[in-house]
């Protein structure tokens, strides 16, 4: 088939991507070397923003929180999701029927359908210091002394956000891993069972190797989501109390739109973009080598 002429089909996207992605990205990069309030002419300051950034305790705090959110949004859901998917597929599905397994799967998945900002609204209500339901539940079961101002106390705020994010993310790996397990030849499990392999051995030697590809995908997508997290922080804590739950995304947002430090905000966003691209490239390479 002739190749010429197909390029025309790329033209609308070429125009759109130049205007919406390429030019803004380069502008952001350029601005990161300047001091600019958003009006008037940016003043060239070279690497000043970056040197200031690496000496800024808030910047490091935001990345430390980001790492903890990767634990909450990628690592814990992946590990829990593996156990749950295997339990539903290889145990509940066999002993109690596929219907029970898919009802449970749907229950775990439900939080995932919410817009993440709405998930924040739900939990903001559940954890409200004066009328929140969680403290009342603790009271009702006689654990009232454990009640906290969950989001308003800087000792608890980040752990609370992490727990909420585990709740939000968990269903995604469960569904993906269960879909992956459908591919597995049932004879494999049957043979292992006849040989007397325990559930744990089947989990380690059949389940995990079979969904290897899915584990990569889930870890990559959830890690990127954790690096970009903004909505829950904005809705639940606005980075506070103090800077207890600040993340790079929210940190750049406040510099752009509240403090008029556009140059500094651009530097934060550029570093974040760089980290995300490097993490993606690393995962994809690792995956290539593996397969």
């Amino acid at each position: 088939m002739k190749r010429g002429g197909y390029r025309l089909y790329l033209l609308p996207s070429a125009v759109l991507f130049t205007a919406v992605i390429a030019v803004p990205f380069l502008m952001n990069l350029g601005t990161s070397f300047t001091k600019w309030t958003g009006v008037g002419t940016p003043e060239w300051t070279g690497l000043t923003n970056y040197t200031r950034l690496f000496a800024d305790a808030n910047f490091w705090a935001s990345f430390r929180n980001n790492v903890l959110l990767i634990v909450a949004m990628a690592i814990v859901p992946t590990l829990l999701g593996l156990v749950l998917a295997a339990a539903l597929f290889d145990y509940i599905g066999k002993k109690f029927g596929g219907r029970t397994a898919s009802v449970l799967r749907a229950a775990y998945y439900l939080p995932q359908v919410l817009p993440v900002a709405v998930a924040g609204v739900v939990w903001g209500w559940m954890l409200h210091p004066s009328y929140g339901a969680l403290n009342q539940i603790l009271d009702a079961v006689g654990l009232g002394s454990l009640g906290q101002n969950w989001l308003g106390d800087s000792d608890f705020a980040l752990a609370t956000v992490m727990a909420i994010m585990v709740w939000f993310q968990l269903g995604y790996p469960v569904v993906i891993f269960m879909a992956g397990l459908q591919r597995v030849d049932p004879a494999l499990y049957e043979a292992a069972e006849i040989d007397g392999a325990s559930w744990w051995r089947r989990f380690r030697h059949i389940t995990i190797p079979q969904v290897r590809q899915e584990i990569f995908v889930v870890l990559l997508t959830c890690t990127i989501a954790a690096l970009k997290v903004f909505g829950p922080i904005f809705v639940l804590t606005r980075g506070g109390p103090g800077k207890a739950t600040i993340v790079p995304s929210y940190f750049s947002y406040t510099n752009f739109f509240e403090k008029a430090n556009v140059g500094y905000g651009s530097a934060i966003a550029t570093v974040l973009a760089l980290i995300i691209v490097v993490v993606t490239a690393f995962f994809l390479r690792f995956q290539d080598r593996d397969s």
Binding site: G5, A117, V277
Partner: protein
């Protein structure tokens, strides 16, 4: 062959998994319960009591106060427009890359992947600035244009590999019959790929519906806001009491759960497709 022993622990495993399911669902149940409770009822019984009667005034009040119908319409318009436009662009790109195999397609694909991976934070301020320059700030059109690009980046990446597998014999037969490229695309490639395109369109719709960061920046006018932005901005406002706050949470939950139920079949089939994102 010996039979598999029925372990006494099987009920314990089921119980543990059911308890987890209850914990996962508890916030939905508690929010719903309190959204249909009168403030007096709430004051008397707290958040955990069952509502003594179905009281919908809190939801009605909140609906009217934020003009929720308008927000729903805004979200529908923006997400619907993005879903359609992004699928059209993805098809055009994937036709050139997957079937046309234009030169340099690998690099073009890497470009689309990169565009999809970049955090919106690194585009936000220039987009904000540029949209003000061209008079698109605080318009739904700006959000539609931006998300069309972002979603099409993913769609192109996915669809190019799908169309790369398109049966060549069909294309060649059509070409021999004298069909133009444009005609082959719309009369043959698109109809045959319709199931994939449907999944893609639903994903684009829901992803755009769920977006928060850029819509928050671009849609500051009350009349333009989407559902998540309106609810997210109102969260924690002093004028909201407990029952009205739970009404607002419920109004955010309902459309999301409705889409899930409507699209469930297509989505569970396609969730592995979305996993590549």
């Amino acid at each position: 062959m010996r039979s598999i022993p029925v372990r006494p622990g099987r009920w314990a495993v089921l119980a543990a998994l059911v308890v987890l399911a209850v914990v996962m669902l508890a916030p939905f149940v508690i929010v719903t319960m309190n959204a249909v409770k009168s403030p007096a009822d709430y004051a008397a019984g707290g958040p955990l009591s069952l509502p003594s009667e179905l009281y919908l005034q809190g939801i009605v009040d909140f609906w009217q106060r934020v003009d929720f119908g308008r927000k729903l319409l805004n979200s529908l318009m923006i997400s619907g427009a993005v879903a359609i436009l992004a699928v059209v662009l993805s098809v055009l790109n994937a036709y050139a890359l997957g079937i046309g195999r234009v030169r340099g397609r690998l690099w073009i694909l890497v470009g689309f992947l990169l565009a999809n991976t970049l955090p919106q934070e690194a585009l936000a301020y220039p987009l904000y600035y540029l949209s003000k320059e061209v008079g698109l700030y605080d318009t739904q059109l700006a959000v539609i244009i931006i998300f069309t690009a972002i979603q099409a980046a993913f769609g192109t990446y996915l669809l190019s590999s799908v169309l790369g597998q398109f049966p060549r014999a069909i294309l060649e037969a059509a070409e021999i019959d004298g069909a133009s490229r444009w005609r082959i695309l719309w009369r043959i490639v698109v109809p045959i790929s319709r199931p994939t395109l449907a999944v893609l369109m639903i994903f684009f719709f829901i992803w755009t519906w769920n977006e928060f960061f850029l819509p928050l920046i671009f849609l500051i006018g009350n009349d333009n806001q989407t559902v998540p932005v309106a609810l997210g901005v109102l969260q924690g406002e002093r004028m909201m009491d407990a029952t009205m706050s739970s009404a607002s949470a419920l109004l955010g939950i309902i459309p999301a759960v409705a889409f899930f139920l409507i699209f469930q079949r297509t989505l569970t089939r396609g969730v592995t497709v979305g996993a590549i994102k």
